[in-house]
Amino acid sequence: MDNPDTTVDKAGQPNNANALNQVVIRFVGDSGDGMQLTGTQFSDTSAMLGNDVSTFPNYPAEIRAPQGSVYGVSGFQVHIGQREIHTPGDEVDVLVTMNPAALKTNLESVPKGKTIIVDTDSFVKKNLIKAGYETNPLEDGSLESYKVIAAPITQLTKEAIFDLGLDTKSMNRSKNMFALGMVYWMFSRPMEHTLNFLKKKFAKKPLVVEANTRVIKAGYNYAETLELLPTAFTVLPAHMDPGTYRIVMGNTATAWGFLAAMHNSGLELFLGSYPITPASDILHELSKHIHMGIKVFQAEDEIAGIGSAIGASFAGDLAITTTSGPGLALKTEAAGLALMTELPIVIVNVQRGGPSTGLPTKTEQSDLLQALYGRNGDSPLVVIAASTPSNTFDYAYMASKIALEHMTPVILLTDGYLANGSEPWRIVDISTLPPIKPRFAEPNNPEWKPYQRDKSTLAREWAVPGMPGLEHRIGGLEKQDVTGNVSYDPKNHELMTRLRKEKVERVAEDIPPLKVEGAQEGDLLVVGWGGTYGSLFSAVKYLHETGHSIGLAHFNYINPMPKNTAEVFGKFKKIVVAELNTGQLQLVLQAKFPEYRFLKYNKIQGLPFTVLELSEKFKQLLSNQ
């Protein structure tokens, strides 16, 4: 690395060399402009060059909003780095906008002095009006403090392919490739990956391949010859562990974690699910692999989704159900049945903004209390939260392992940010994962009883239809201890309620201790859980490296909590719980550990934390000791 410490200065230019530590690029346009594809291509290419990457799409709830409208704007943000990258980035270094609406809705994220690429051809009266501009921002001086690269992208695209005999609409469809070509040159990325991708994707449409290939090259060459562009930058490879990687999205990794658990448990996988944003991609992914012994059942509603999963679990499958907040609400009663019958199932809740229909395409962490307590009766179950797009794989795997080995329902929380975010993932050799050993009963064992328990875990044994000699009935009515017969005995009910609670608590024996990153003791402990890990870690790391006494304890296991939790809290003078809700984990912690005082920091905007706002808050907490 010649200039590992070079950073972009305030003007968006490299100080003195062209190597950058990291850069954040956001592609924005109409939902029909292909911005998701453009962004994915850029991040994949960068990952293959050895950069660490983190991406986040931002798309409208409307499927096909009117062209050029502000609510039809679709974006894709890519953060690439030579250093480890933990978030898609707070602030945008390069904004690529395909129309005025895209500029209008995204300018706020671009600090003054940074670069904006615009398609000047789209800044016509009609589009300006739709975007709510009274004057043309390219002409009225409002973009003066930015580095604007104004290119007639639509026109240049047409010129590159005018002789192919395509209609205007088809020609316009390629203009995202022109922008991509420009950005490829700007950051010294080779075009090969994308050219190959186009060949494969449009194998049956050679004309489309030809058009896109020409356009991307035209964009690249245009950028090279254009005086307006600063010299090309580069982002050198990151220090990543050696291995074979691929880029994964959170929902895909979640699905694959269950596939790995299916393989390692030796069971078949059953998914009962009803579509809901942002969880549906797990259903879509698993639907592709039915030939590997996966039964995917799109049910008539969320209740039937979990109902069918409970049935499949009763019959001996690794059974899961996937949903988002409103769907979890519908699954409530059935989750109680799984808990009462002590059957293993995993319920995935990809959280979105709530309450009610809320903000379907935005992220939030506001279903924690629903997951922990949202059922009738005293009804504890295991609650786990993944914290990065790729570690949803690990936690889907662990959720399955715990469910099967402890005979309990498990709720796995992810969120819209993890679900749609992507990052490099070192492909796991699944034979190296911890084994999963389902607790099957011994057929024809005359001593067997449905609710007899393992001494250490308190898990009952799984006797499934087809096993001779173990025919039995279970259900939602209170069970007599050991026999599992219906019982209304008051003392038995208390005993069983306590046993169910104790059983979940004993899962703590099988989970790793709570880790502290940054300072191991000292002034401020930041506590988080789930999808906010990237931003919390980045902020804490930065403050710690600049000399502050600050640590981060991030929860993945929420019920039960790691055994050393109280010990960790005891090592810091101040504790702040940062969450994308009004303070749900904070409430739980304050109740569980009244000997400590938990401050809180919350954001409820449907957006992730920015590293900047976190750093400022933590600095403030550190300074008024």
């Binding site: 293959m48 050895g50 990956h193 490879p237 990543m240 562990d241 050696p242 291995g243 074979t244 990687y245 691929r246 694959w256 596939l259 790995a260 299916m262 393989h263 078949e268 059953f270 039915i290 030939h291 590997m292 039964k295 059942f297 049910a299 008539e300 509603d301 209740i303 039937a304 109902g307 069918s308 409970i310 049935g311 499949a312 679990s313 009763f314 019959a315 001996g316 059974a319 009663e333 059935a334 109680g336 049945l337 019958t341 492909i427 796991v428 699944i430 034979s431 499934v464 239809p465 087809g466 001779p468 000699g469 173990l470 025919e471 039995h472 009935r473 279970i474 259900g475 939602g476 219906v486």
Partner: protein
Amino acid sequence: MSDNTPVYTYKDFASDQEVRWCPGCDDYVILRSVEKALPQIGKKKEDIAFISGIGCSSRFPYYVDTYGMHSIHGRAPAIASGVKLANPDLSVWVITGDGDSLAIGGNHFIHVLRRNIDLNIILFNNEIYGLTKGQFSPTTELGLRTKSSPYGNTQPPFHVGSLAIGANASFFARVPGNNPKAMTEVFVDAEKHRGTSLIEVLQNCVIFNDGVFDDITDKKVKAESQVWAKHGEPLIFGAENNKGLVLKGGKIEIAVIGENGVTQEDILVHDAKNPDPVMHFMLSRLKHPMVMGVIRDAERLTYGQLFTNQVEAVKEKAKYHDVQSLLNSGDTYTISDN
């Protein structure tokens, strides 16, 4: 019957739990009829599962010595679907009431029929909510005074057969709850049918709706009030066995053989296998006489068959067949030690 299936009697299917329905309740008759049908279906005990919802009727699984689950209100079809899809070798039975299946569970009920998952559903229709002590249900007749309709029910009822056939049920049968012999036969037929088999039992609740079906099921009137549908046989009934159903002007009417020139040849011959449900729909709606027995038993691919066929087709074309190859596939890249 597979060779190593033991020879059972009905007693082998009685569990050790004390049966707790009200004395005189038809539920006892249904239980005994099921216990008598099970030895005839050629399944081992361990390969049978009973899944119920909530209601008096839904206590049923506790009393049968097979695998069973007494689940939550209305959801048994969904749970049973999961059981069957997880293990297609099982004989899976759903036990439900008129409230359980048609009120809170209405959605699951129509969808399980639409999908044609290979289950047998016994719907205990007593036209009342028994367990919750006597409110009107979705099958209660207009005007009936119940706990929650002290001045008479103002909600028009569902017709079970119409609803089921409308939802594309491939098998629909109706039996009186006081006729164990017929019930046993119909249950065996239901198990033979591939797809969702719905059996509506007219079940008398002696406590909250006693006698609702008397005009149909009472021993004294049944010869005149019931026509028994048998595939391939004419729909003849009556104490003298001389009445039959005929189709006239698009409607089903009653004709007397030997009167007005009507001969046996004019009587409708029951075709339960007809894929076209129109005649089954009409037969199922007759009030007096009411058609009993297997009204519809049409062949249609089950969900399991459709799914398995698809899996086989996908297998042939698939690029990878195990999880690790899937993970290793796609756009991968290697970072080497540097």
